[in-house]
């Protein structure tokens, strides 16, 4: 009865009540809209946070370029070219400056070389292999002369192309303007030859036919070794170009470096690169979605952190060796290379730099670490790419921390930090802050580039929406409070006489509260409900609007496999708000306004009830 009377009285001021309803509906709509948008932001932000990685690459830039000349026998003159000079190697330590917050600190990563003679590394027809253009042979010259295009007969092939045996070839110190080493007829010499990429214009057809047009260049026993600081360790043994093979030569000390070279040459085609890293996404191929795990899973952050012996293997290698997820693979690691990304020496087309496997003394290195790794994932590449942003041929990926043996004595190459070897990860959205701090360091020969999959654009979008949602939220709340306060004044304070009369008729305080509250709150309920519905409709419209503004999806999904899809899905779901999600926030927002209304009303009602009715009722004034 009290409720009925309360409602009855509410609806007997229809204009006031309707205005109250409308204003409340508007504020509830704003509030629910703001709530929905901020909720969407929250969801999107956390969903995207996991999909985006902000990775930086570091590259030491040249300090100057210098002109260098190299004798070219083919053109019979110096060949000049410009060469970039880098000066002293800059250590990654300079990036450990005050105020930076790394998820993965910059590291000039080495990659390792595994010697695996039992693996099929190049199935099917092989285009070109390291061994094919680097050979170790014994020759006898056809005349006594310096090696200024000296015709020789190959008398023995110690390593490399066996077809060379008994062939007549041109041997030329191609890069030496004044060749002085003389070979004598009747004697046999051992030498390492690089198959000439230079055609020999047949200067003297007396020795061979026009078929043998390639020229071979002898290369020294050169072997390189570095320490952890990147300093070259030189051996004191002579770096020989040729040696005469005499009776008992192979038992002599002079023969040792040649024998080691032979051993090395025969290992060349059984090498594959193993990349130790702290997170798959630090490898730009994965970060840029050119490579992705297709079978099994990625190595987890825990596995990376704990140095678990797990690995990712490339699809081709897995296929030709029948490797499956869950299999174990023993990786005998023999060398560490700090000079370049694996793709420099291990190319998809078979080319690439020759690989040095000998220490400063010219001895073939021995395996420094040999452990079984579980294959957890098999990856593939959208596009075979062995650049700095790609991966080496047959590259296996392992956690950096899983290699516990020291490779200090197995470092075969060292070089400046570059984008293929040095990367790091910072929290998403931290680029600006980072670069500001970096600029203060005043180091100008390092170039830092960031790759964030378009997170910055997204972040701006989300921030815009955050501001918008806060405005709506605040606007909605403030308006709701004002509207509630105004109408509580009208419906409660101005009705204090009514409370007094009710009290004088013997209504308990609780009944008086019910009498004031039920009518008011039913309007609040209706207004809020209507506003919430409108808010939901507006959310839909706003989301539609936002969708059109989104540019980052392009950036995010551009060219790639794997995670790109995930991103696309995330984007798609981000645009869609399911009705139940909408209802959830609408109900939550509505309840909030109801509570607000109830709270404000109670403050006013308490005021009404504080006075004894005598104060109100006595008095002659109408």
């Amino acid at each position: 009865m009290i409720i009925k009377n309360s409602l009855k009285q509410m609806f007997r001021t229809p204009l006031k009540t309707f205005l109250f309803f409308c204003l409340l509906a508007v504020s509830a709509a704003l509030f629910v809209l703001g709530l929905n948008i901020s909720w969407l932001n929250q969801r999107d932000a956390s969903a995207f946070e996991g999909l985006f990685n902000t990775v930086g690459t570091v590259e030491q830039k040249p300090t100057e370029t210098e002109i260098d000349g190299e004798w070219d026998a083919e053109i019979d003159q110096y060949y000049y070219y410009s060469r970039e000079k880098y000066g002293a190697l800059v250590s990654e330590d300079v990036l450990d400056f005050e105020g930076v917050d790394y998820i993965h600190a910059p590291m000039n990563r080495p990659y390792f070389t595994a010697y695996m003679p039992d693996m099929i590394l190049r199935p099917g027809e092989v285009t070109e292999r390291v061994n094919d253009w680097l050979v170790l042979v014994e020759v006898t010259p056809l005349r006594t002369d310096v090696m200024d295009s000296l015709p020789c007969t190959v008398t023995r092939v110690l390593a490399g192309d066996p077809d060379l045996l008994n062939r007549k070839i041109w041997v030329c110190e191609h890069y030496n303007p004044t060749p002085e080493t003389v070979m004598e007829t009747g004697k046999t010499y051992i030498m390492r030859l690089n198959q000439g990429t230079y055609p020999h214009d047949d200067r003297d057809e007396t020795y061979m036919g026009e078929n043998d047009e390639w020229e071979y260049t002898p290369i020294s026993q050169y072997a390189s070794q570095y320490n952890r600081k990147g300093e070259r360790i030189n051996s004191d043994t002579p770096d020989r170009l040729i040696d005469e093979v005499t009776e008992g030569f192979y038992e002599s000390d002079e023969a040792k470096p040649w024998l080691e070279l032979m051993k090395e040459s025969n290992m060349m085609n059984s090498l594959l690169p193993v990349q130790p890293v702290d997170a798959t996404k630090l490898l730009m191929a994965f970060h840029e979605n050119n490579a992705a795990v297709q079978d099994g899973r990625d190595i987890s952050q825990e596995e990376y952190a704990q140095g678990k012996r797990v690995c990712l293997v490339p699809e081709d290698l897995a296929m030709s060796n029948n490797l499956q997820v869950g299999d174990r693979l023993t990786l005998p690691l023999i060398a560490a290379d700090y000079g370049s990304a694996p793709g420099f020496a291990f190319k998809y087309d078979g080319g690439g730099g020759g690989y040095n496997l000998r220490n400063g003394k010219g001895e073939v290195l021995s395996v420094f670490d040999e452990n079984a790794y579980e294959i957890v994932g098999i990856y593939s590449m959208a596009e075979k790419d062995d650049s700095d942003f790609g991966l080496g041929y047959n590259e296996i990926i392992i956690p950096y921390a899983s290699v516990t043996s020291s490779w200090d004595n197995n470092i075969v190459s060292f070089g400046r930090m570059n984008k293929g070897t040095t990367s790091f990860q910072i929290p998403n959205g931290g680029i600006e802050h980072y670069l500001k701090l970096w600029e203060k360091q005043g180091i100008d020969n390092l170039e830092i580039k960031f790759y964030d999959n378009g997170y910055s654009v997204l972040e701006e979008n989300i921030n815009n929406r955050r501001v918008m949602s806060v405005l709506f939220l605040a606007g909605g709340v403030i308006m709701a409070i004002l509207v509630l306060a105004l109408f509580c004044h009208l419906f409660i304070s101005r009705a204090s006489m009514r409370t007094a009369i009710e009290r004088s008729l013997g209504m308990k305080k609780k009944q008086c509260i019910l009498s004031l509250l039920s009518g008011l709150m039913s309007i609040v309920l209706l207004g809020t409900a209507a506003g919430a519905v409108v808010g939901c409709v507006l959310t839909d419209k706003t989301a539609e609007q936002l969708k059109q503004e989104q540019i980052y999806d392009e950036t995010f999904t551009s060219g790639g496999i794997g995670d790109g899809k995930e991103g696309e899905e995330a984007l798609a779901s981000q645009q869609q708000i399911t009705p139940s999600e909408l209802a959830g926030t609408a109900v939550a927002g509505g309840i909030l306004i109801l509570l607000l209304g109830g709270g404000i009303a109670m403050v006013y009602i308490r005021q009404n009830l504080k006075k004894e009715p005598i104060m109100m009722l006595m008095g002659n004034e109408e």
Binding site: A500, L505, G506, M618
Partner: protein, 229 residues
């Protein structure tokens, strides 16, 4: 048979700025079946005394007893709802309820079914001499006299046997005044109500069984006319 005794009652209105002493050590008593008048100059404390009798507040000092029971120890909500009824000088009808709804209000509050409450309310409205067409009218549309009579009807309808009225005829013409006084007299003398009326009107005062004359918050004179049994 109810008896109210007012014993050494003082009352003051306390506001932020001042304290107004409205009653000073008032002593008097009231019985069922009698018609009382409280007279005196404006501001002498008549309405205040009436309000205390109606239980709208408690005396600051002194006591009011109903049949020997201290009013301050009773449930005043029940006292107001079931025992005492008041007619105010300013009527104090619910502005957003029509005449019938106003009169039905205390009945429904007691839990009386709607139909019965309406029947009884209509009867009371008839008793104060108002036509049926008034039922649907809101206080704003009624004259002062009509409002006053609806207020009396509401007090009567409530059914408490103690009826307190503050200038109930102040806004009525002589004919209606006579009607109302007749009703009040009848309620006292025939239906056993205790009727206490604050009035300026010497004519009404003359018809009371007992008249209390007040000045400066005190009863200065008590006149019994012996009309009651």
């Amino acid at each position: 048979m109810d008896k109210m005794v007012v014993e050494q009652v003082s009352y003051s209105y306390i506001s932020k700025y001042q304290t107004i002493l409205a009653l000073r050590e008032v002593n008097c008593s009231f019985e069922s079946g009698r018609f009382y008048a409280i007279t005196g100059e404006s501001g002498s404390g008549k309405s205040t005394l009436l309000s205390l009798l109606a239980g709208l507040d408690l005396p600051k000092e002194g006591k009011i007893y109903l049949n020997g029971e201290d009013l301050s120890k009773m449930d005043r909500d029940i006292y107001r709802r079931d025992i005492a009824a008041v007619v105010y000088q300013a009527f104090h009808l619910f502005p957003l309820l029509n005449a019938l709804e106003n009169v039905m209000y205390p009945l429904e509050l007691k839990g009386m079914p709607k139909a019965r409450a309406a029947a009884r309310a209509k009867k009371c409205i008839g008793q104060v001499g108002l036509p049926e067409k008034i039922h649907g009218q809101f206080p704003k549309m009624m004259s002062g006299g009509e409002q006053q009579r609806v207020a009396i009807a509401r007090a009567m309808a409530a059914g408490g046997k103690l009826l307190f009225a503050d200038e109930p005829t102040g806004n009525l013409d002589t004919e209606n005044e006579e009607n109302v006084v007749a009703i009040l007299e009848r309620l006292a003398h025939e239906e056993g109500y205790m009727v206490v009326v604050v009035t300026h009107n010497p004519g009404i005062a003359a018809r009371a069984d007992v008249e209390y004359r007040m000045r400066d918050g005190q009863i200065v004179e008590e006149q019994k006319r012996g009309g009651g049994q």
